[in-house]
């Protein structure tokens, strides 16, 4: 991994909680699909590790930002689904506005001029 890749991966990893909340905001989901959504959005280069995601689910659940329940699949393993709570939505919104504000500051400081 190049130094640039590591920088991008760090940025992504630093926002894992918010990213997971963002995925769950659309619909309840289970680990594989959440991981796949992130993997596909990241284009395969800098993905968030599965181990990180399991730790994230546990932390989010402990903080009351998500709730989990077991699916009723008849064949194969039963899936553990996660659902975002009202507290989770509030945190998600606060984090997104913080991100937007911070991105603007960094864009200004780094002199980014696209679009």
């Amino acid at each position: 991994m190049t130094e640039t890749d590591a920088f991008a991966a760090d940025l992504l990893r630093g926002n894992t909680d918010t990213i997971v909340l963002g995925v769950l905001r659309r619909a309840d989901n289970y680990g594989f699909e959440i991981h796949k959504t992130i993997r596909e959005a990241a284009g395969g280069d800098h993905e968030i590790k599965e181990a990180t995601l399991y730790a994230t689910y546990r932390r989010l659940e402990k903080d009351g930002l998500v709730e989990s329940y077991w699916g009723d699949e008849s064949q194969g393993g039963r899936r553990k689904y996660y659902r975002i709570t009202d507290a989770g939505r509030a945190v998600y919104r606060a984090r997104v506005s913080a991100w937007v504000a911070t991105r603007r500051i960094i864009d200004t400081l780094l002199d980014v001029k696209d679009k």
Binding site: G64, E73, G77, R78, T85, D86
Partner: protein
């Protein structure tokens, strides 16, 4: 179906202390690995290779389990102070003013209903609906506020609680108008419809409610298993006593309502049923939030 995954999963979890948490994690991981191997097989991997690769992607199991954070737990008072959120001045002012206005409107409406002041049923209903609107707004507004223990409720849900509050109070206003003038049958119909709508909305909101507590409150309730549980969950006898009490209240109430309806006029039964509701709520409040019995202290 790919069976390699189960063997590899057992191997990965060999030597892990199988606590309830670890067992649950293993089942969660199993379903995710099966979905991942299906995906890999659909792109042409052999079942054995797909299973191996899925397990490898997972990394060491110890990383998944993590280590519990052990640190000194601060007292509730300290946590409260650290997480304190002051109410917004504007919110306090408008809530106070609207509550005062609603209380004034209800007082005048009651005086009108008993014909102390002239106003008739239309006056009673108009003031009642105004009070309902004010209190409905106060409800929604309060739920939208971030507090020390809770996050602000999403706007749609907060509005739902506000509308339900409005509907239940407005239905009382319509019934009061009807009690003032028993020829105004449409008022009773509107009141009944509003009450049903309010009950339906309250039930739906209650059933779909999710967590709104902040993380520090959540953790606090993990530390003290009994701290946040309601009394009915921990004390079955109290729950059944509550059932018996409210059963008695309602039996007596319904009997009295029928008696009054036959002896005087049928709308008296509404008054009795209203009183029964209030008594039930008071018993509920008294019993559900009673202090824990002392026997829990020596556990």
């Amino acid at each position: 179906m790919n069976t390699d995954i189960h063997r590899l999963l057992d191997e990965a979890f060999a030597g892990v202390d199988m606590t309830a948490e670890a067992r649950e994690l293993k089942e969660e991981v199993r379903a995710n690995l099966m979905a991942r191997t299906d995906e890999l097989e659909s792109t042409g991997s052999s079942p054995a290779a797909a299973a191996r690769r899925a397990i490898e992607e997972l990394g060491p199991i110890e990383d998944l389990l993590g280590s519990p954070v052990a640190s000194k737990t601060p007292s509730i008072a300290e946590l409260h102070a650290r997480n304190k959120v002051r109410p917004k001045p504007g919110f306090v002012v408008r809530t106070t003013l609207l509550s005062l206005a609603a209380a004034g409107a209800i007082t005048v409406a009651v005086l009108m209903a008993f014909e102390v002041i002239d106003g008739g049923p239309s006056g009673v209903v108009a003031l009642g609906v105004a009070a309902a609107a004010a209190l409905g707004f106060v409800t929604a507004d309060s739920l939208r506020q971030e507090t020390t223990t809770n996050y602000a409720m999403p706007i749609g849900r907060a509005v739902g609680w506000g509308v339900a509050t409005f509907a239940i109070i407005a239905s009382l206003a319509a019934f009061a108008g009807f009690a003032t003038d028993s020829d105004a049958v449409p008022l009773a119909i509107v009141g009944g419809a509003l009450a049903l709508a309010a009950l339906g909305l309250f039930s739906w909101l209650g059933a779909t409610q999710t967590n709104r507590h902040k993380a520090w409150v959540q953790q606090q309730s993990h530390h003290q298993a009994y701290g946040q549980a309601t009394r009915f969950e921990t004390d079955i006898a109290a729950a059944s006593r509550f059932g018996i009490y409210s059963g008695v209240v309602w039996l007596v109430g319904i009997g009295a309502a029928i008696g009054l309806a036959i002896a005087f006029a049928w709308w008296w039964s509404l008054v009795v049923l209203g009183v029964c509701t209030v008594i039930t709520m008071l018993i509920l409040a008294k019993m559900l939030y009673a202090p824990e019995p002392a026997k829990d202290a020596d556990k």
